[in-house]
Symmetry: D2
Subunit: 171 residues, 4 copies
Amino acid sequence: MLARIAHVYRRNVMTSRTARSLRGDFPHLHLITTRWHDNDVYGHVNNVQYYAFFDTVVNQYLLKRHVLDFERGEVIGLVVETACQYFEPIAFPEIVIAGLRVARVGNSSVRYEIGLFRGEASDTLDVFSASNAPAIAEGHFVHVYVDRLNRRPKSLPAALREALEAIQSAS
Amino acid sequence: MLARIAHVYRRNVMTSRTARSLRGDFPHLHLITTRWHDNDVYGHVNNVQYYAFFDTVVNQYLLKRHVLDFERGEVIGLVVETACQYFEPIAFPEIVIAGLRVARVGNSSVRYEIGLFRGEASDTLDVFSASNAPAIAEGHFVHVYVDRLNRRPKSLPAALREALEAIQSAS
Amino acid sequence: MLARIAHVYRRNVMTSRTARSLRGDFPHLHLITTRWHDNDVYGHVNNVQYYAFFDTVVNQYLLKRHVLDFERGEVIGLVVETACQYFEPIAFPEIVIAGLRVARVGNSSVRYEIGLFRGEASDTLDVFSASNAPAIAEGHFVHVYVDRLNRRPKSLPAALREALEAIQSAS
Amino acid sequence: MLARIAHVYRRNVMTSRTARSLRGDFPHLHLITTRWHDNDVYGHVNNVQYYAFFDTVVNQYLLKRHVLDFERGEVIGLVVETACQYFEPIAFPEIVIAGLRVARVGNSSVRYEIGLFRGEASDTLDVFSASNAPAIAEGHFVHVYVDRLNRRPKSLPAALREALEAIQSAS
């Protein structure tokens, strides 16, 4: 129902695209278990938590690829813009699958796009079957990479760029 | 420095407006104290927490105006879209002042705009002097109001509409 | 190292027991994925988050057993006491396995004991092999059940009592 | 009502002390504003958040006294034990006043005691009148200080010890 509302709302009011991404659109997937207090007084995961899921899949991917050293790395990714569109509610104890793709790699910046999907009972931590399931929410993160010390923009290190291009969307 | 980076980034890459709102642009202000664990491994308030501040000032205003009854109200405001631009970092134990204005009131939807400002030492909980300080971050929340039971969009109740129009921005 | 420190500390200063529980001591297990911002400025999961894990496994068990209806249930479990001892740090993106047992069932109260364990790479969401791994942290929750409306203590409903006794520890 | 329940419960079941501390028992006070999502599905601040308040007042005091340098300090305070007793619920948008005292200073460890109090409408950020108000919750934190690098227990630095003794309780 929220999906339909959101659709009607967007058709009438907003200029942003209305097509929901599919799970198969995201080359990297990460499973996130919900927690009791993700739910707010309305009994569904609070809108703020979606960004915690976004932040988690971005950093999990970078750590997995060994291109994020948050203690000693020479560059830091500063978040300069985030956004999220909400299509369907989800609630504890449901499982979330976070999909990640890179939409644009600049000289010192990256635009990540994230889709959140409802987990299925058979999901395990390591195996995700491809799926046509539409996102329950999707959004983006823009990072600008800067020197840890002087905080000036720096070109992306080669290893980071390689990891980003590995999950860059075709379009 | 983040402000300058963000500015350069936006000038080069993005189409969104680059002018930062001022504290005086927001008719409703609410003080928020930061917490130890708002800071992330980089020692600044994590990007996700900004949305907790947004959510807090929106609901604080509605509760203050007695137009939000989250236990028994006949309508519920579903969040369908949120976004934030980050201009300057802030860190615990600094104080945040959250400004709120309403940008658009539709039949069953509202677009809130929020600006976050660095608190000053002399701030108290009830008194805010007008200020030309620029926002350290700003963003928006779009709520669609629906019937609590059948979740279909409903016209905004008169009292809610009145409270929203009281902080509607001129433009 | 934290384990040894904690041990020395407890031997010298505290009266509480020093033996760490084992994963096999907990009849109910629930897997929890860590999140980027569970980590604090020191790069490990912040002490507060452990209680979010406790709260999650308790409620997950009750929901799984269909004895918690947080929207319409006639009784509510009020938390009157919680505590945690920390033995070893853990950090995102590690996985936590939360173990739950019931230590005492009173007329209207329950004492839950929770142990947290480091997840293993082969863990899936549904299958946990028994293990002799010691807890990285453990603690307890005391709930008193009250009438939702008048908030007076109520005897535990039969179905709830049955679910609790199913994971009651032998001792 | 929760206070009475908790009292009855403790009288019957627990061995811990039942006397609630008063605001005047805490030499250091810090004001904390609640947030929308501190509330859980039951409409009150979730039990986990109380520990976020504890963590906040401890670190706020240490930062204020300039004895916590979480980026470069040679010693780190590891949390080895925390606990909380809950006497009365509180809910957003209420204000919390966190009181802090030091119960015991060892060679390399500290036991902090924290009391949480309901804020009053006239509270400002800097001024707290003494009060006989009883705590709505209270608990403790035990920190063991270790060398940042090798994580072995270290004697408390003199400046830290001085700051701790300044708020040590008489008993």
